[in-house]
């Protein structure tokens, strides 16, 4: 057994599950991997279920409809029913498709999202691994989903799918830049790559959150929201699956369980992005009220986890709200927005932030004198 490091959930699980220790030594690591792997999978699936239901209801209410109403009260079990239906559907692989790639594509997309969950802190100690390069890790791993999508587009042997995949590739490559700039800005403020450190830095009164740290931080915040929408291929950036143009884009040929894996991956990624916005700018798992944040024990954990989920679902709602309001933008406009709007704005904000940190290091507004060191 390697020496445990603080905050690593993986080793706490070993303590929680003593029977693991009774297994032969060489099985410890695989079993740990298995058990810890189950947690993100469960969270992704649950988030997918809730997210799909939420999307349906939000869209329905905005569109003067009722949405699903048949299964369960207010149709709450509809998503579950759909999941079961999808599992029972025939598994169709087009004859001319590239079979291995076609099968691998949804898995690759899902793995990308799965890996994202590893670095998300739900609480100080509830994080799979608190990497000391957490933000880099996220930026790197976020692109794995794209690989799955390009594989899907290619393997389907469908022109619409291919076009969708190409759009996705171009889009994600382009928006890595503004996302990276936003992340760097946050790192400048926090002084750490570790996700837990970033959140801990924002402990205390909500004015301590990074979005309030300097006058340009909200620009970064909005840029990050827009860029994350593009990375997630959510409307108005849903070009890869633009259904009025490309039928269904990269998943035109997918059906049944494979399609639903794409679907769950999409909602999992949406949740991660929402949680990331909360973590990077809005205090992560802290409520912003010191009294509540300092509670210990199980209750404190529940409050903090609840705070993160609350913030994440608020942004999930924002994503849906935007989707059901706006038209889709065109490919060239998407690049225009990226290279000519988000990148310059983000870049300027990053420079200003850097100078701000040099001139007024520490707590931003807090260090302007009126509430020094309240957060610490």
């Amino acid at each position: 057994m390697p020496e445990t490091t603080t905050g690593a959930l993986i080793y706490q699980i070993l303590e929680l599950l003593p029977f693991l220790k009774e297994l032969p030594e060489f099985l410890h690591i695989p079993m740990l991997m298995f058990v810890t792997g189950l947690i993100p999978v469960t969270v992704i699936s649950l988030v997918g279920l809730v997210g799909v239901y939420m999307e349906r209801k939000v869209s329905a209410f905005m569109q003067i409809r009722l949405g699903p109403m048949e299964y369960g009260p207010w149709g709450t079990l509809q998503t579950l029913a759909d999941g079961i239906k999808l599992m029972g559907k025939e598994d169709i692989i087009p004859r001319e498709a590239d079979k291995p790639l076609f099968i691998l594509a949804p898995i690759a997309a899902f793995v990308g999202v799965f890996l994202l969950f590893i670095a998300i802190p739900f609480d100080r100690d509830i994080i799979v691994v608190d990497l000391n390069v957490g933000i880099f890790y996220l930026a790197a791993v976020a692109s794995i989903e794209v690989v799955g999508i390009i594989m899907a587009g290619w393997a389907s042997n469908n022109k619409w799918s291919l076009l969708g995949a190409m759009r996705e590739a171009a889009q994600v490559v382009a928006y890595e830049i503004p996302v990276g700039i936003c992340l760097v800005t946050v790192v400048i403020v926090s002084g750490s790559f570790s996700m837990v450190d970033i959140v801990e830095e924002q402990k205390g009164l909500f004015l301590n959150w990074f979005i309030f740290r300097n006058p340009v931080m909200w620009v970064v915040f909005i840029a990050f929201i827009i860029a994350s929408l593009a990375e997630l291929k959510r409307a108005p950036f849903d070009l890869p699956e633009a259904e009025s143009e490309l039928v269904s884009g990269f998943h035109t040929e997918y059906s049944g369980m494979r399609f639903s894996i794409f679907f769950i991956a999409e909602y999992g990624a949406m949740f991660v992005a929402s949680a990331l916005i909360a973590i990077l700018f809005l205090g992560g798992y802290y409520t912003g009220i010191p009294f509540l944040d300092n509670i210990d024990g199980i209750l404190g954990i529940l409050i903090r986890v609840g705070a993160l989920f609350g913030k994440a679902f608020a942004f999930l709602f924002l994503q849906m709200w935007i989707r059901w309001t706006l038209p889709r933008i065109r490919l060239d406009q998407m690049f225009y927005l990226c290279y000519k709007v988000l990148v310059p704005f983000g870049f300027v904000a990053m420079i200003i932030t850097a100078f701000w940190q040099m001139v007024l290091p520490g707590d931003g507004f807090m260090s302007l004198g009126w509430a020094p060191g309240l957060g610490k």
């Binding site: 869209s59 619409w160 633009a242 038209p327 933008i329 406009q333």
Partner: protein
């Protein structure tokens, strides 16, 4: 499938989208292939069973060609093989979004053959239902155009309002889409009681609702950027291709048959001919085609208000001469009406029997879709969908 294409290469050209030369310069060392895309007949945004064969280079549409005929059902021959009245339900199925206008156009032609006098009351009912139907048709155009740009919610608002139109029309004639209401000599049934109040309630609602749709869709920045300066049609091109209706008016040509050659009793009403405003983009682009439709809804509301005020409370709804089977004298007649899609013309030749000898339909959508290659060549794939949506075609009419 042609795997190796130069996505990067085409992107450099996306900057100027206006009138792209189809002879695209390619870097010499990259092998590129054109991709032939069959868009339709089953495609979410071809508005029916239209097929567009597009030769694309990445996202660029080099050439495109609409392929029609998937919905051909021999309207003209069917109309020639039955009595004059029996052809009316067939006209419903031409432009099924504006069946009242089709009925009206056909019946006017028959009446011109018969030289029959229409009761005034019937004329008012005709204008009433036709303008109501025009609102419904334009609402579909507005809503589905939003759908083509990816804005899904305005579509539902437009359909909510259209549903009210359909409810009113269903109460008047018993059907929601294929009305078979206007007949040679008048209309099939009298108006039900209380319907006029409902219509005035609806048009009050419609004005408010249209404003909301405009705020949500028409003046949305992304929507403007998607549609303005896209698919610009000059008046010359429009006239050359025989484009009529809102598509022609959006180019600035003031041509509305209701004003130009007033049929029925349209000369009694005050309304404007809406043309492209050029408020955004250039006159004749997709955004202006869209705004013309939204404004025509307002003009239709104006006409409806006047009809409601001026309408006699009761009267004959069907001329006696055509109440039963009739035989028009030998001769031929052509009448054209301003349908929601453009000039809908019917040429009917009679040989004196109770069946028309020849029926010819001039369907506006057929001409409107023919202009697609002229507008869409050299644009991007996403623009092709937008241009097609802005033309507001109905395949039932194109293929007849």
């Amino acid at each position: 499938m042609s795997p190796s294409r130069d996505v990067k290469g085409s992107k450099t050209k996306m900057a100027d989208t206006a009138n792209m030369n189809t002879n695209v310069h390619e870097p010499p060392d990259v092998r590129t292939e054109e991709l032939l895309l069959n868009m339709g007949p089953q495609h979410p945004s071809t508005h029916g069973v239209l097929k567009v064969v597009a030769k694309t280079d990445g996202e660029l549409v080099l050439e495109c060609e609409p392929v029609v005929g998937y919905l051909h059902r021999c309207f003209e021959k069917c109309a020639e093989s039955g009595s004059y009245v029996q052809a009316v339900p067939y006209t419903d199925r031409l432009d099924y979004l504006m069946a009242m206008g089709n009925n009206l156009g056909y019946c006017l032609a028959v009446e011109a053959l018969m030289k029959v006098e229409i009761p005034e009351y019937a004329d008012y009912i005709r204008v009433l239902v036709t303008e109501l139907n025009r609102i419904g048709s334009h609402l579909i155009a507005v809503g589905t155009f939003g759908l083509d740009t990816g804005a899904i919610t305005p579509f539902f608002y437009a359909f909510r309002d259209r549903e009210m139109v359909l409810d009113i029309l269903e109460e008047i004639c018993g059907q929601r889409l294929n009305y078979n209401y206007i007949r040679p000599g008048g209309v099939a049934y009298d108006l039900p009681e209380g319907i006029l109040d409902k219509i005035s309630t609806f048009i009050d609602h419609m004005e408010k609702s249209l404003e909301e749709i405009n705020n949500l869709l028409t003046y949305n920045g992304i929507f403007i950027h998607r549609t303005a300066n896209v698919g610009v049609m000059t008046p010359e091109v429009a006239i050359k291709y025989g484009v009529t209706g809102p598509n022609l008016r959006s180019t600035g040509v003031k041509r509305d048959l209701r004003k130009l050659r007033p049929y029925s009793i349209y000369d009694r009403f005050e309304f404007n001919i809406c043309t492209g405003t050029g408020e955004y983009g250039t006159i004749g682009d997709c955004w202006n085609r869209h705004i013309v439709r939204t404004q025509e809804i307002i003009e239709s509301i104006k006409i409806l208000r006047q009809v409601l005020n001026a309408m006699p409370t009761e009267g004959e709804h069907l001329a006696k001469a055509t109440a039963r089977k009739f035989r028009p004298p030998k001769g031929a007649a052509y009448t054209a009406v301003e349908n929601s899609k453009g000039e809908l013309g019917f040429y009917i030749a009679s040989d004196g029997t109770d069946e028309p000898w020849r029926v010819k339909c001039r369907a506006p959508s057929f001409h409107n879709v023919s202009v697609l290659p002229a507008l869409a060549n050299g644009t991007m794939l996403a623009d092709l969908v937008i241009i097609l949506g802005s033309l507001d075609i109905v395949l039932g009419e194109i293929d007849r």
